[in-house]
């Protein structure tokens, strides 16, 4: 949760569709596997540049990948 906003994401689902491991996704993003795990379990919300990178990688919009729980 960040400033009262709870962000949910579909990263695990999208990664599963591609058949990638966390390590594989991490390598494609240029981040550590721990960071991918923290993103997937919702412990960490990415910066905008990393969110764009994810959106490009999965061919989806940022809004599709990340949703505000309150919305």
């Amino acid at each position: 949760m960040h400033g009262g906003v709870t962000v949910k994401n579909r990263l695990r689902e999208l990664r599963g569709e591609q058949g990638w491991s966390q390590a594989e996704l991490a390598a494609r993003l240029g981040v550590s596997r721990q960071t991918v795990n923290a993103l997937e379990v919702g412990k960490y919300d990415p910066s905008l540049p990393l969110a764009f990178k994810l959106a490009r990688l999965f061919g989806r919009s940022i809004e599709y990948i990340f949703t505000d729980e309150a919305a």
Partner: protein, 131 residues
């Protein structure tokens, strides 16, 4: 500017070599400064040699941090905050105890290892929050 994995690896190497050199030079200076009866000005100059090694190591560490991803940088940042806070509080508290309870004077050389230990503990603590 993008930092490559090689730059990060080089940073780790620089940090490790620099800190090892720092430790060896500090021990060497301690061992040799007594028996050699060096001139005071030369001794002052020699005292700064290990600091140059530590400075080089520090620049290596900065390269490592620049090569990390955003979450790792956030964790390092939290670790630094813990290190600064805990070191400031413990040295200040001990300073008060030295003044009011007459505890033995401690060398300021202990501040650097204290920063290292509290920084490492702070990072470990921060990591737990993101697991």
């Amino acid at each position: 500017m993008t930092i490559s994995a090689d730059d990060k690896k080089q940073g780790w190497r620089q940090f490790t070599i620099g800190m090892t050199l720092y430790a060896v030079l500090i021990i060497g200076l301690n061992v040799l400064s007594g028996p050699l009866q060096l001139d005071k000005r030369l001794l002052i100059a020699l005292t700064f040699v290990p600091i140059l090694a530590a400075l080089w190591a520090m620049l290596g560490w900065i390269k490592v941090v620049r090569g990390q991803d955003e979450l790792q940088q956030k964790i390092v940042s939290e670790g630094v905050h813990w290190a600064v806070g805990l070191t400031a509080l413990s040295t200040f508290s001990y300073g008060l105890l030295e003044s009011y309870v007459n505890l033995p004077r401690l060398s300021m050389m202990w501040v650097v290892p204290l920063i290292g230990v509290t920084g490492a503990l702070g990072q470990a603590f921060a990591w737990r929050r993101y697991r």
